[in-house]
């Protein structure tokens, strides 16, 4: 198991954002996290990357308990994420954004940076080369010198993925990567995530675009009001009554009858 979520709960004041949620993700799979708005999906991401600490429960990554570890340490361990509302470094070029992503895989400090030691120059070259390759992968190489804020919306989303990949994650968390994308962009996003999977990276994805989720994911967990409603393959989820009810509501006839 790459990631094990064990009985995780999170309360904000009196509100139970997540209640006793457990699931685990296998190496190399694409795992979907779906559910209506406010179900606690993004909260789950924030707990995994420790933007908040869980109120109770454990998060285990590659057999190591990472609950409460500082965010930047978690990135070093190999978990990196994107954001639902894009959070790029807007005044930096696309290339630099991706190079920042490589921060945890490089080590130059003040001294070696100022004096441009041999090791530092080599590291910078490698960071840049790696960043350029990732930009090619997401199809932004031609735009590498543009400021992130000047990229089109769909490009910004892809840049965020490239930036996260630069940290060489073992587990990539994608928070609604297809939001606001048109059909064509969504198709190329599908291809991109499949390529990421083929590189041996495990993917946990939050997404509202159901056709994409069903096509993409190996397994899916459904959250509703902070609780896990169901878990299984896309086929199982599509035919799960509780899930259908949560999404579509109970059928009127049944209520009356």
């Amino acid at each position: 198991m790459v990631l094990e979520i064990k009985n995780v709960s999170k309360n904000f004041g009196g509100i139970h954002a997540l209640r006793n949620v457990s699931f685990s993700i296998k190496q190399g799979e694409i795992y979907g996290l779906i559910g209506p708005n406010g179900a606690g999906k993004t909260t789950m991401f924030n707990l995994i990357t420790n933007i908040f600490e869980p109120s109770s429960g454990e998060i285990v990554f590659n057999d190591e308990n990472i609950t409460g570890l500082k965010s930047h340490k978690i990135t070093e361990k190999g978990i990196c994420r994107t954001y639902q509302n894009i959070r790029l470094f807007s005044q930096m070029s696309a290339l630099k954004n991706v190079m920042v992503g490589g921060h945890s895989r490089s080590s130059s400090g003040v001294f070696s940076s100022v004096f441009r030691t041999k090791a530092q120059r080599k590291e910078e070259q490698e960071l840049e080369k790696n960043a350029e390759e990732l930009l090619k992968l997401v199809g932004l190489f031609e735009n590498k010198d543009l400021l992130a804020e000047n990229l089109a919306y769909g490009q910004q989303r892809r840049l965020e993925i490239a930036r996260a990949l630069a940290s060489k994650p073992k587990l990539l968390l994608l928070d609604e990567p297809a939001a606001g994308m048109n059909e064509k962009e969504t198709d190329s996003l599908y291809d991109l995530i499949k390529i990421i999977q083929s590189k041996g990276i495990t993917v946990l994805i939050i997404e509202h675009d159901m056709p994409l989720v069903m096509k993409l994911c190996d397994r899916i967990a459904v959250l509703n009001f902070g609780e896990k409603l169901a878990e299984g393959t896309p086929y199982e989820i599509q035919n799960n009554e509780a899930v259908i009810e949560a999404y579509l509501g109970k059928e009127e006839e049944e209520e009356i009858a």
Partner: protein, 316 residues
């Protein structure tokens, strides 16, 4: 001969150089998103430390200057850690308060700092340098300079070298992993942290570097002037330093440098209108903030200038 080496101009030049250091000391923490108004306080710490070391313990000026800068830098680390929780205006107010606390200590710690009268008889860099070269059997008159011309010239050159080294350091750092970390924290702290950047470390680092530079500027100031008093490091100074950076453009280091040069020169250039000059200075600031809040120089302007150069190059 060599009359153009005018002590008055050289003195202004030296003040400009010290002010550039101070402006950069605001720019560096700002490059990681921290608005510090503590520069005047850190400057005072550097100045007093260096002055007291050289007066009371007869240490060489160089030791005093390095010591002053380091003490200010260490104070920067000590203040920087609890200040991490503060951002924006709140950090500005806290650091402004810090500066005032430091100034009040200088005023009241009579036995050491001589209170509000300040310290006099601080060894001066220029004279020391003159004595040094005389030790080698060199006299300013040998190159046709009067003694005071030589002294001011040496001070100016020494400060020039220090400022150039500082700018070199900051620019190199800016174009590296460390500089990228600073700017990513400035642009989006949360995202920077998710990218594996230890924001605690880098924020304290940039804050302490700013404090160190302000301390360096302060200790040089003490040894250029020869006397210091708490009023040299009051909140007026803090605001003045901030204005250098804001006026010139706080996004780019060249902005701070430009601001320091321009705003140090303006009161001198406007001497002919004597009592009106600070009114003009004030009006200029008001207009600038209304028309160009990001300061005279910013990234877009610089990239346009660069683009212009490139296209001209293509024409040839």
């Amino acid at each position: 001969m060599l009359d153009f080496i005018n002590p008055y101009y050289l003195q202004i030049g030296s003040f400009i150089l010290i002010n550039i250091l101070l402006a950069v000391s605001v720019y560096v923490p700002l490059s990681s998103g921290q608005l510090s108004l503590g520069s005047a306080g850190f400057m005072g710490v550097g100045a007093y430390t260096s002055a007291l070391l050289t007066i009371n313990f007869d240490l060489p000026i160089m030791v005093g200057v390095v010591g002053g800068a380091c003490v200010a830098g260490i104070l920067g680390i000590i203040i920087g850690i609890p200040s991490l929780r503060l951002t924006g205006v709140y950090l500005a107010i806290a650091t402004l308060g810090l500066g005032e606390v430091i100034r009040v200590i200088f005023v009241n710690w009579d036995s050491v700092t001589k209170g509000s009268i300040g310290l006099t008889g601080i060894p001066q860099i220029g004279r020391e340098l003159l004595n040094l070269v005389r030790g080698f059997g060199f006299e300013p008159s040998m190159i046709g300079l009067k003694n005071n011309q030589f002294v001011f010239l040496m001070v100016f050159l020494l400060l020039f070298i220090i400022v150039m080294a500082t700018i070199w350091f900051v620019v190199r750092q800016q174009n590296s992993r460390v500089g990228r970390s600073f700017s990513s924290i400035q642009m989006d702290e949360k995202a920077a942290e998710s990218m594996g950047i230890n924001i605690t470390y880098f924020k304290v680092l940039s804050f302490a570097q700013g404090a160190f530079l302000a301390g360096l500027a302060g200790s040089l100031f003490a040894h250029v002037m020869g006397y210091i008093s708490p009023s040299d490091f009051s909140y007026h100074r803090a605001v003045e330093i901030l204005i250098f950076t804001v006026f010139g453009g706080s996004e780019v280091i060249i902005g701070s440098i430009f601001g320091a040069i321009f705003l140090t020169l303006i009161p001198e250039v406007l001497r002919f209108v004597s009592e009106y000059r600070y009114i003009i200075y004030g009006i200029m600031l008001v207009i600038l903030m209304a028309v160009r809040p990001q300061g005279i120089l910013d990234i877009h302007l610089l990239s346009r200038v660069k683009g212009l150069k490139r296209s001209k190059g293509g024409m040839r």
